[in-house]
Symmetry: C2
Subunit: 193 residues, 2 copies
Amino acid sequence: MPSPLRNGNLPVPSPHHHHHFQSTVSAQKLRRLNTLVLILRFASFCFSLASAIFMSTNSSRSTGSPSWLHFPSFRFVFAANAISALYSLFEMGSSIWEILRSSTLLPEPLQLWFDFGHDQVFGYMVLAAGAAGVEAIRGLKSGHTCDAENSLCVQAIIAVALGFVGFAFLALAALISGFRLACFLITGSRFHL
Amino acid sequence: MPSPLRNGNLPVPSPHHHHHFQSTVSAQKLRRLNTLVLILRFASFCFSLASAIFMSTNSSRSTGSPSWLHFPSFRFVFAANAISALYSLFEMGSSIWEILRSSTLLPEPLQLWFDFGHDQVFGYMVLAAGAAGVEAIRGLKSGHTCDAENSLCVQAIIAVALGFVGFAFLALAALISGFRLACFLITGSRFHL
């Protein structure tokens, strides 16, 4: 259940830390952790968005040649990275809200489960899309489509590579949100530093 | 640092639970969690091993036709699942040791970091192999190789599907090992139920 009281009293994470010095140190650490999460979200957003844009603008120069839309894996790369970019944008907003108001945007348990669950699932999704994209490009190369359509292949390679970088930041964010959730489940508070 | 004392005193997870009843309940819960981990490891082992065997025996009946070894993605599926099966076998042993001796096989922090890190990395690896395998099969189908070599495709599909099921169990095991690691980092004990 959401607890607005505990949620609001940010600088006192647990009854064992009543001293002013301790709580100041905790608040500093918490601010650093929140800033780190925000940076990871921002990086994940940038790379995912760039990957989706690179893939979606990957139209061939010559007419009659294959477009990226003809390859299901490239569509998967685009969709996964677009979803990841939208999600990272929402999480950036939620993270900024948490830094400014020192309470979560959604009720606390819901927010923690939401963050961790989506981080994990979208992380797996972006990774799977990247792996499928690599295999599709390999297939194009071995089928000598890349010899005629070099720009298509190069742009697809860049999009897939950007997607992998976005995945790395998402996976790091998943580690932190998983730790926050475990903190909440074990101690009843999402920060225990 | 490893602490053999805390490691050995299993039924008393924290100083707040000194009562006999409480510690008995904790010990029961802990036994159930360890059994659940063992079951997940066993399932992951079975499916990964089956996937690796299915893929490695995927030789074509007719001579001169493509073998699974000619497809890098199929080699990746085999390698990822073979590694995952070996790792799951080790983790099964480690889990049985923990149930019998109520202490970890390796020193406690090392074991927890080892488990979680490998669960995450091998989980990502098996998933990426599966996604690449799906795309490779799709390429074979669209290239009409499957019309002539149907048994190759069917066996590859089964191997990839078994790999995905193995991944699901590995991902669940990663959730539990992540929670155990977070418990250890927060409370100093790997079980806090």
